[in-house]
């Protein structure tokens, strides 16, 4: 039985629909991430689950109750906001204990709960400070502490790491994952950062323009994207897309380069397609992973390099399109140097050029 169940949930502002009937089942204890570009409706969906936005259509269930019209305080949820939303005139201790104070729990109980939460999040030395005196990361942890103090049915996170600098972000990501392992709660997490989505989620829900585009585990959406949008959205650097046409059992690129059709795809002769190649699947000879059963080789001139230390990103041109490839065990590469790249076709994807849908079977 799903703990959170969205059935045909929609949101309209006047005549403009920002969320079109979406369906989602979230299991008890699951960490689900809603991810997508700005304006895709992920935050709106989260806020509808929280009760901070009215639902224009459909039904939301938490546990075994329909919660459509219930205000947030009766939904047994807690939320971590993007801007932390701490109460500036209260100390950290008061912030953490506020919800219990409102629920009129006995003082001793509040104190224990607050101390426990502070312990988990290493906030104990900060308990008597005010939010104004804390750093961004510390405020973040207070926001999380406030959420876990109550033991709700569902935790909601609204882009909690967006306002932190890069290094702090990676640190907090680990902490959130650890927290989830320890507390084992059901989490709905919204972000626009696909790295966060991949590292934290049990399942990823990719949204675009108010629709759900694909739902799956991180590995599923990475290895089997349903369309070009998912393919290019997930994974860094983004998947390269090269235009081509199917001729028999080959794909012909615009400059004439011919490659075999990647295995596992159903195509029609003459079909216009896009070939999706990830940078990790296109590497120069001698600086590559072990070859897969189906390999193809092309020569390309390297225009730009981005050395990352353990690997280098190479920018090259394939059939007129700029592509990125990876180089393992790197050596210095001159601009303009021609190299021979091996493409692992087993890991490549073919998408229909018109619809963007995958042609994998």
């Amino acid at each position: 039985m799903a703990l959170v169940k969205l059935t045909n949930v929609a949101k309209r502002y006047g005549s403009v629909a920002v969320v079109h009937a979406i369906n989602l089942d979230i299991a008890d204890g699951e960490f689900v991430v809603l991810v997508g570009p700005s304006g895709c409706g992920k935050s709106t969906t989260l806020r509808m689950i929280a009760g901070l936005e009215e639902i224009s259509g459909g039904e939301i269930r938490i546990g075994d109750r329909v919660v459509n019209d219930l205000p947030p305080r009766e939904r047994n949820i807690s939320m971590v906001f993007q801007n932390y939303a701490l109460y500036p005139h209260m100390t950290v201790r008061e912030n953490l204990g506020f919800s219990l104070h409102i629920a009129k729990r006995p003082k001793a109980e509040i104190a224990t709960a607050v101390d426990a939460a502070a312990e988990i999040l290493s906030l104990t030395p900060l308990l008597d400070r005010k939010p104004g005196q804390l750093s961004g990361g510390q405020r973040q942890r207070v926001a999380m502490g406030r959420a876990i103090v109550r033991h709700p049915e569902v935790f909601l996170f609204d882009e909690p790491l967006s306002n932190l600098d890069a290094k702090l972000r990676t640190q907090m990501r680990v902490e959130i994952k650890r927290l989830h392992q320890k507390v084992g709660a059901t989490v709905v997490y919204v972000t626009h950062d696909q790295v966060e989505a991949m590292t934290l989620a049990d399942r990823i829900v990719i949204m675009r323009d108010g629709h759900i585009v694909q739902i799956g585990t991180p590995l599923e959406v990475f290895e089997r994207p349903l369309n070009t949008f998912v393919g290019t959205f997930i994974g860094s650097p983004p998947m390269n897309l090269v235009a081509a046409t199917v001729r028999g059992d080959s794909v012909v690129l615009t400059d004439g380069t011919t490659l075999p059709v990647p295995p596992g795809h159903a195509v029609q002769d003459g079909q216009a397609v896009e070939l999706g190649i990830r940078a990790d699947n296109m590497m120069p000879e001698g600086h590559a992973m072990p070859p897969t059963p189906h390999m193809a080789y092309v020569d390309m001139a390297v225009s730009l390099t981005e050395p990352l230390g353990t690997e280098t990103l190479l920018f090259a041109s394939l059939s007129g399109a700029e592509v990125q490839a990876k180089m393992l065990n790197p050596r210095p590469v001159r601009a303009g140097e021609r190299m021979r790249f091996g493409i692992a076709l087993d890991k490549c994807h073919l998408f229909d050029a018109a619809t963007g849908a995958t042609l994998r079977v």
């Binding site: 305080r73 939303a85 701490l86 005139h89």
Partner: protein, 298 residues
């Protein structure tokens, strides 16, 4: 190299300081001096007749003075508190409106456009026992068949004056508090909703602390104008009839200009000055304190 020039800020502030010293400070000093004399306008040489604190003692013994003083304090306290509560309520109501906000805000400013003299006149008209709106309405609705003497009876007149005063200034409170309501970050309010607060609890624990600086600003601004009640009272009842609505200021005006007892009037004037300054300083202090608790200090 030593700087012999004045600091820039002082130069910029100099004109303000000069004119205020000339128009306010010097007269105040003079007023203080004359309050210790038996100065009468009709006998200018009496300016030099020093009588010490006689005027002040006389004021302390004068029942008229104390009646006026007490009445003034009652009026101000009631008026300020009522204005604040009504202003708060009005601001809350208006803040929740989604469409037509601008129109509402403009309408709210209506009372601010009126000179206090006009307000006094307006309410004198409305509360008039013959042609006044209130009596006519009461009679038309059958709620009364006498002409209620709003401006004559001691308590009713005070009530009418408070109505006028509240009508004038509730808008100031409402508008400032409205600005405060819009300045409140919405996130903590949403967090409060999630944390389990009813609307009343959200208001008490989150909104109100944020609003305090704005409320104090409004109080401070109002306290500056507190003496404008003089204008209203002068035209509505002129302190009468028979001193029943005498406020400290109408008393001063009458003693000084009508009775020409300047020294005495100045003494009473000084007392009223301390009253007004007391109110103002009190509220400015509260304002600073509220700002620092919110972490918005200088």
């Amino acid at each position: 190299m030593t700087r012999k020039t004045f600091p820039q800020w002082l130069v910029l502030l100099m004109p303000a300081i000069i004119i205020l010293a000339a128009v306010v400070l010097i007269p105040l000093v003079f007023s203080l001096y004359s309050s210790f004399t038996a100065y009468q306008l009709t006998r200018p040489e009496s300016l030099w007749k020093w009588i010490g604190t006689f005027n002040y003692q006389k004021a302390a013994r004068d029942p008229n003075f104390w009646a006026a003083f007490g009445r003034t304090i009652v009026l101000l306290t009631i008026a300020l508190n009522v204005e604040m509560l009504l202003g708060l309520g009005l601001a809350l109501l208006v803040s929740k409106v989604t469409r037509g906000q601008r129109t509402l805000r403009t309408l709210m400013m209506f009372p601010m456009m009126f000179s206090p003299i006009l307000v006094g006149f307006q309410f004198k008209f409305i509360f008039n026992d013959n042609v006044g709106l209130v009596n006519n309405a009461l009679q038309s609705l059958g709620l009364s068949d006498v002409a209620i003497p709003w401006l004559v009876d001691a308590h009713l007149a005070l009530f009418a004056i408070i109505c006028a005063e509240v009508w004038t200034s509730t808008s100031v409170f409402a508008i400032l508090i409205l600005a405060g309501l819009f300045a409140i970050p919405q996130d903590p309010l949403e967090a409060a909703k999630v944390d389990g607060c009813t609307p009343w609890q959200s208001f008490r624990y989150v909104t109100l602390p944020f609003l305090m600086p704005f409320i104090y600003i409004a109080m401070a601004i109002r306290s500056l104008d507190v003496a404008r009640a003089y204008d209203i009272v002068k035209i509505m009842t002129n302190g009468g009839p028979a001193r029943r609505t005498e406020l400290i200021w109408t008393l001063i005006g009458r003693t000084g200009y009508v009775d020409a007892r300047m020294g005495y009037a100045n003494a009473m004037g000084y007392i009223s000055i301390f009253l007004a300054i007391g109110f103002t300083v009190y509220f400015f202090r509260k304002l600073s304190a509220a700002r620092t608790t919110l972490g918005m200090g200088d």
